[in-house]
Subunit: 249 residues, 2 copies
DNA sequence: ATCATGTTCCATAGATCTATAGAATAAAGT
DNA sequence: ACTTTATTCTATAGATCTATGGAACATGAT
């Protein structure tokens, strides 16, 4: 006599709902973006190169699987990852892919970023050095993602503007760059550039989501403690307070 | 100018290879089984109620994604999960599903197992009590899975035989039952039965895979330290040694 | 060599998924 | 009341996936 045959079939069907989300490359890409910051449908479509209606359709699928949630504001709909478990899951997917799929490593290596990847700074080391003021931490992701959450004391330097703003970085201080995660190449790219210009620079291990998941402090809002450009403080609406440390549920 | 557009698309396509495996309920079921023990195609087809050719096709998909590996023996092919990362991933999937999908909890509850689930024993507590000899640990999964790896000192009591073998369990000792994991209902079922018969019984938190992932000792082979039935020691061929603790790769 | 066994390969019908244009909504503005 | 703006719904053609029977393949056994 089989045990709970009917119940188990249902159960696996439920699990498959989650699989359905990550079976399509674009949906993984969307989920990845949403783990960094919430965005409107329009922004997501633009970021992934999808037609608007197609992006919307993908988002519906993700929503049915409860991996994303929405927030309405005026006529706009903002999507976001539904909880930290989702980001953790995406992280697990990345880890598994790196562990099992040689192709992934190969792709990462094929996009040569010199030796930027070789010696990464650990989170604990960075934390210690931040306290001693020995480093400049730069967040090289797009500005929205920085605004949605960043390492305290980090400054926003989206890679695409890095070169133009090199003079803002002290040549005598080591620079630590971070981005979205281990599979993201923004930080290695930034480090490669910095090194080429004579800076002492390294990447942080992993990215912001992992930092957050480690229970380390995260700050949000666009302002950063800019010692150089005091930049008139913006209207304030974007300046949500820093929620510190672990919300472990 | 977009960054590494081409490389990233490839990357997400690689990640989607993994999604492809868990998009089909039966493949998740197969993967679940393979995280417990290796099995032949025939056995897998039988266990999941699939036609042989269909099961084989599913296994090919899983193999292409590198989530399973094979071992040939005579004319038979044994499939197994390709490394512990795979089991960890399946665990992450289960966790996410439980966290995000109310339906999952509902299904679990709909299959009533009384209050067997309410108070589970933690791994550390069990470990301590095993050392004091205060408990009887029973592995209620099918015997093959017990043979492939079990908690040291646990005895194999597949649920389907539990009732018939109740007299082998001392009424004065607490019984701790475990099975495949948090979504598996074998242990709760066993505990419900035991309680109905006057035993003091509880479930272990999670199942064997989680125990193993916690780096706790795992023993394999069919023999168990049976204090009651000394049972002439079998020919030895099934008696692989116990590999202890964490193989962290 | 020949046969038996267990598995994979092949072809295919039916089901499901994807991208997309255009219509329909819904919430603000005017 | 209209008009905008942002998004979702609808319909659909084309692509991909699934289950399955039967053929084809290996590997042992006789």
């Amino acid at each position: 006599m089989e045990h709970d045959t009917e119940g188990r079939a249902d159960l696996y069907e439920q699990l498959a709902r989650i699989g359905k989300v990550i079976v399509h490359p674009k949906r993984i890409e969307l989920l990845d973006l949403l783990c960094q910051a919430e965005r409107s449908v329009e922004a997501l479509a633009a970021a992934t190169g999808l037609k608007l209606t197609t992006a919307s359709a993908h988002l519906q699928v993700m929503r049915q699987a409860r991996l994303v949630e929405i927030r309405r504001e005026k006529t706009r709909v903002f999507y976001r990852a539904a909880g930290e478990e989702v980001c953790r899951f995406v992280g697990a997917l990345n880890d598994l892919a790196r562990a099992r799929l040689a192709e992934v490593d190969q792709i990462l290596r094929s996009i040569d970023t010199g030796s930027a990847d070789t010696e990464r700074v650990s989170r604990s080391e960075l934390l210690a050095r931040i306290q001693h003021g020995e480093v400049v931490v730069i967040d090289v992701r797009p500005e929205e993602e920085y605004a949605a959450g960043h390492i305290p004391s980090a400054r926003s330097f989206p890679v695409e503007h890095l070169e133009a703003r090199l003079d803002e970085l002290d040549l005598n201080l080591e620079v630590v760059a971070y981005c979205r995660g281990p599979l993201c190449l923004l930080a290695p790219e930034a480090v490669a550039l910095l090194r080429a210009r004579g800076h002492h620079a390294r990447c942080l291990e992993d990215g912001l989501p992992e930092w957050r998941q480690a229970g380390l402090p995260v700050e949000s809002g666009l302002d950063s403690p800019l010692p150089l450009k005091p930049k008139a403080c913006p209207s304030g609406e974007v300046r949500r307070s820093s929620r510190t440390a672990g919300r472990r549920r």
